[in-house]
Symmetry: C2
Subunit: 345 residues, 2 copies
């Protein structure tokens, strides 16, 4: 089958790789129908996050079950499924308490030895626990929105939940990438009346407004902090979602937070030394919560809203390519000409 592989900075290829086969009795095979490129794939593409040469890549996919292991009980060939970006066993203490990302048997698609999401098929471990089945009669037009549940929408939601977004709380989102935009949607869904977005891309601001943002701050650095704080009436924001992953973005998030406020951080830390100055947090009693989104735990809550149309994150995909054009999707995203490319197989 064909799959995307990464060979070095700026070098992703579509290559022939062995077809996946069932290995464990709890596995299923999924034929991928839709996948996409994540901001964290881009850190590998830029050479910031190391990968083995030829390693598979991509961790977001939906598709159709084609074969099931003998211990699989809830899935059948033909089922349409959403795959969270991390698989998990569903039986451990962590899975049962809503943190499948910390399951000792978890893994991420595309890690060495595992199929990447950007390919024609994927072997799924612990399939009953990992995959979420979609009702059979769902319209194909919902596929892009369903695809966001694999990572980006759940990650935006995690940021908003971690930042304790609730009605009556002032909310800011730092970062206008797809995660930041999904955090805007999530914050509105959780009852925030006003959401301020910090991000300097004009085209993304348009999506943000469609998603319900109240105001955008397009400047950077100290000027952005000042403008954002002005928009909060000078007091700062009760809930701030950090959706970039750089030390600068985290510093900005803390700086625009109100004293006693909470920063929900979901940008994968990369570059720099991964540190945050705790002094400002200490003297202003600012909390920092978040991390890797437990997507599997959130999908059951968000899926009904996607199916009803109440939640539609699909506009984060501003470009659709075929699998063979995946390298163009990476290049466009790296050049910031594309927000998030959907790959349709």
């Amino acid at each position: 089958m064909r799959a995307v592989t990464i060979h070095g900075a700026g070098d992703v290829r579509v290559e022939h790789v062995p077809d996946p086969v069932l290995r464990d009795p709890t596995d299923v095979l999924v034929q991928v129908t839709h996948t996409c490129v994540c901001g964290s794939d881009l850190w590998a593409y830029r050479g910031v996050s190391p990968r083995e040469p030829g390693q598979r890549i991509g961790h977001e996919f939906i598709g159709v079950v084609t074969e099931t292991g003998r211990e699989v009980t809830t899935l059948r060939p033909g089922d349409t499924v959403v795959a969270p970006f991390i698989w998990s066993d569903g039986t451990c203490d962590r899975c049962r308490t809503g943190l499948p990302t910390s399951c000792p048997r978890s893994g991420i698609w595309g890690q060495p030895g595992a199929d990447g999401a950007q390919g024609e098929a994927v072997r799924v471990p612990f399939a009953d626990a990992t995959l979420v089945r979609v009702p059979a009669d769902v319209d194909d037009s919902l596929a892009p929105a369903l695809l966001t549940l694999t990572d980006v929408m759940c990650t935006g939601h995690h940021g908003a939940v971690a930042a304790a977004v609730a009605p009556g709380r002032r909310v800011a989102v730092v970062g206008d990438g797809a995660v930041g935009l999904c955090a805007v949607l999530a914050a509105r869904r959780l009852g925030a009346e006003d959401v301020v977005l910090l991000g300097h891309h004009e085209d993304r601001a348009r999506i943000a407004h469609r998603f319900g943002v109240t105001a955008t701050v397009r400047s950077t650095g100290e000027e952005a902090v000042e403008q954002a704080r002005d928009l909060s009436g000078g007091r700062g924001f009760d809930s701030v979602v950090e959706a970039v992953g750089t030390a600068t973005a985290l510093r900005t998030a803390i700086s625009v937070a109100a004293d006693g406020g909470t920063v929900g951080f979901v940008g994968v830390p990369h570059g720099g030394d991964g540190s945050v100055d705790v002094r400002q947090m200490f003297y202003r009693n600012i909390a920092l919560r978040g991390g890797l989104a437990p997507a599997r735990a959130y999908i059951p809550e968000l899926l009904p809203d996607v199916l009803s149309g109440a939640l539609d994150p699909a506009p984060v995909f501003d470009c659709t390519v075929g699998l063979d054009e995946a390298p163009d999707g990476y290049a466009g995203m790296a050049a910031r000409q594309v927000l998030k490319p959907l790959i349709r197989l």
Copy 2:
């Protein structure tokens, strides 16, 4: 009157200073009966936290009101009062939402231009809002326990609250100073069945056991992390209080936390670069909350338990001196021969 002043590293003196006078109509004057030395005073004494030569010092005191400004309505001469370590106006948004430490008109005893707590008398701004009156018939033997409400007990409580201590959660406290010991008391009071203390002083472990600690870890570094995690059944602690303020202690606190757990940090950040590595927090979904304790907001909750004897933090004072012997108290504490000296006037 006499008061303690600091002139440089290792140089605290008892000197004659001007008697305080009422300045604003909302002021009162308090004759100090009991004060003490805090771990954060020690950072000044060690030359780590800068002070102006001759600056007043000390921020924990209880005493008796001697004079009231004409706009003071709730206090009268003769009232026994507990003073939180930070004064606040009681009328602003921050004061009304439980975060008086962020009141724009707040200040700390001993800051330039303000009386320190280690002296015979203190001018108290916004006295109606700042001070908490103690019932007239309270026995003098409760004075040391009441004194802990000015800072150390409220700070330990803040750490436990920030760490989300609750019945059924596994709890660890990093640091066996007076704040760490008070955090043990606070955690037990909030329903923790098991509390593990990380700290290597044998004499303090004895107080900790009296305060209800289940186990102590006296090793340091990686060995301490490993032993503590073993005591948690390998999973880590749901709630961890960091009560030291060094980068090492914060790293230890995060390392012994369970995935999805919460670190409540109340050690005043000092030395080093004040940074924390967020990567471990991110991949394990560990939250960091806390900061400067809003003592004024906690005293009304803790005072009844101190008055009833249900909460007795007094054993953190292992030495009592007179005001003229305050420098000996500092020296003993700096040499780790004294845990926390009480100064009785």
